[in-house]
Amino acid sequence: MTYFILQFLNGLQIGAIYALVALGYTMVYGIIKLINFAHGEIMMTAAYFIYFFMTLLDLPYFLAVILAIVFSVVLGVLIERIAYRRLRNASRLSALITAIAVSLFLQTLYAILFTPDPRAFPLTASSFPVLEIGEITLSSWTLITIVVAVIVMILLQLFVTRHKAGKAMLVVSEDLKGAYLMGIKVDRIVSMTFAIGSALAAIAAALYIVSYPQITPYMGALPGIKAFIAAVLGGIGLIPGAMLGGFLLGLVETMTRAYIPSSVAQLSEGIVFVILILVLLLKPAGLLGKSEREKV
């Protein structure tokens, strides 16, 4: 039982990060039906921002994170403005290919600017105290990660259900043209969506690099893809779906590794995809998705 709880917490920690990144995918998809493949790279750039603020400006971690969030928001909004806005009415495939281009552009740019060699992040989770609750040993950073992620998600949920701008976002995701006709400033809502998504990715980066303290231009790729899977799993376009999908993905990954013998542990990645395929076969719109009727 102790073993199960330990692995469950490991799963929750990585799942929390997937969920935060998945939210960015899902919100953008909800609004403009674009899978923003550059989203993982927002996380990567945020990690570099935090790193440089801490090493070059000697800022404390917390302040560096706040600044990095601001910079990531600006970057996210700029990317939408420069790369995606003109393609709003083009075919979805063109926008998708542009997103891939932005992703590769950022990776290559960072590789050229800062070399592809990994850099060590100055703050590591191993320097945080280890909590011992009975049989359970738990890094306090694991706890911080889960708690911060959950708080952020609750705030986001409150924002979209209670705040006027949040509600406007939901309306735009229901029907973009209709919202436009109702006098909602769609462009502003889209920018806001990218801003929120980027901020979440920056928070995810802040939590991620302390646990996995290596920064490379390609570090966003894998969590980005995983988070995308999480978003599809939960039902892309749905905020609670991304949260559920993220945690679920983290838990499935951890639990398959924890309980399947190592000789076949290579399966763990495979099992994630098997689950994705099954979910898409049985519920094509994702776990929380409802198959929508054609709007007239």
Binding site: D117, V130, L222
Partner: protein, 399 residues
């Protein structure tokens, strides 16, 4: 209509995401197209020794280090009166880490430059290809750092200066039994890497022979960053020591995550750990790797005079610290030179015979050859202590 459209879009998205995954995995290798060759000087009274090394491309770090070591050795010999009364002319070609390039460069060395002996290649795959040619030509050849057992199996004329991968895993097994006196070991290795796999197999075999129980054998694939699940499993299995035969970027991540899950046992590794204390790997938490033992070619704090003077000379010549590959290149060159000296001529058979019986004292230890032309040499066990590599003990590779 709507349904088929959204289906098509989804297929497109899936295809594109697959394409992305493939692109992402192939990124990151920017091969520089540069060739660095020393123009052959045509003079009658020089001894020509050829070199092959990847001076550009993916594995250029290794090639440049080995080449630097070789150049330093040859420069020393030339300054001290040369070899058999002649100066050595070292001709090196960049093979970019590719088998075809290496074979072409080898042909050029033999046919155009008329070398008498070869120091190279650096990595295993091209070394095997070159060794096949060299065996046909009966060309005396020594690789500084090719660890694959197959290289020296190509012919009697092919030697190496480094220990093979299996030796490291084997010795660590003996180390656990004899020095640490522990009985329950665990392994965390990279299943997608031959080096990691080779060390693991040898370690497991030795542990079984010594009666050490492997309580957990966990693995991961290249690119993984989360090891906490495996480490939790290892902790629960009650391991007393953990073998981590991987490269330093993974090693440091594993060490740090072990602290997070409260796994506090000694870590063991191979020469892939060399570099773990570099500034850009360990960062500001300099003591995180403390308490780890790993097998290496030499220890920088080894008081051995020859090693210390090599390290100083290297620092002066290149303005940086030597790594193991440089030390191995230096030794490989000196071994070839000593063999030619002892042979008393540049005749291939004489050089090969002299090399076979060589008793060499070098910076990476004293070396003699076994039946497979693999060196029997000292292996240093390094202990990471207070953020420094320290020599813990020395073992013989056939122990």
């Amino acid at each position: 209509m709507r349904k088929s459209k959204s289906k098509r879009v989804f297929t497109a998205i899936l295809l594109v995401s697959l394409a992305i995954i493939m692109l992402l995995t192939s990124c990151g290798d920017a091969a520089e197209k540069e060739t660095e060759t020393t123009a052959p000087v045509v003079t009658g009274d020089k001894i020509k020794i050829g070199g092959l090394a990847p001076l550009t491309g993916n594995v250029s770090i290794y090639g440049i280090a080995v080449n630097n070591g070789v150049k330093l050795a040859i420069q020393e010999v030339n300054e001290n009166g040369g070899l058999l009364g002649k100066q050595i002319d070292y001709i090196v070609y960049d093979e970019k880490g590719e088998t075809v390039e290496a074979t072409n460069a080898y042909n050029r060395l033999v046919n155009d430059d008329k070398i008498v002996a070869l120091i190279g290649d650096v990595t295993s795959e091209p070394s095997i290809a070159v060794a096949q040619r060299a065996a046909r030509d009966n060309m005396p050849m020594i690789t500084a750092s090719g660890t694959s057992a197959d290289i020296t199996k190509q012919g009697e004329n092919v030697f190496r200066a480094c220990f093979i991968d299996e030796v490291q895993g084997d010795l660590m097994g003996a180390f656990v039994a004899n020095n640490l006196e522990l009985e329950k070991a665990a392994i965390l290795y990279n299943v997608s890497d031959n080096y990691s796999q080779g060390l693991t197999d040898a370690f497991v075999a030795r542990c079984e022979a010594e009666g050490i129980e492997i309580v957990a054998s966990e693995n991961y694939s290249s690119g993984d960053t989360d090891f906490k699940t495996q480490l939790t499993k290892i902790k629960t299995a009650g391991a007393e020591v953990l073998y981590v035969p991987n490269y330093y970027n993974d090693d440091i991540m594993i060490v740090r995550q072990a602290k997070q899950v409260g796994l506090d046992i000694p870590f063991l590794g191979g020469d892939g750990w060399d570099g773990v204390l570099s500034e850009n790997v360990i960062g500001t938490e300099k003591n995180d790797a403390d308490g780890a033992y790993f097998t290496n070619h030499y220890a920088p704090d080894d008081p051995n005079e020859q090693l210390q003077s090599f390290l100083t000379a290297y620092r002066e010549a290149y303005g940086m610290e030597a790594v193991s590959f440089a030390a191995l290149g230096y030794d490989a060159a000196h071994m070839m030179i000593q063999a030619i000296e002892e042979a008393g001529s540049t005749d291939s058979d004489a050089i090969i015979a002299a090399m076979k019986d060589i008793e060499y004292e070098g910076v990476t230890g004293s070396i003699t050859f076994d039946d497979n032309n693999n060196p029997i040499k000292t292996v240093s066990i390094i202990l990471v202590k207070d953020g420094e590599y320290t020599l813990f003990t020395k073992m013989q590779s056939d122990e």
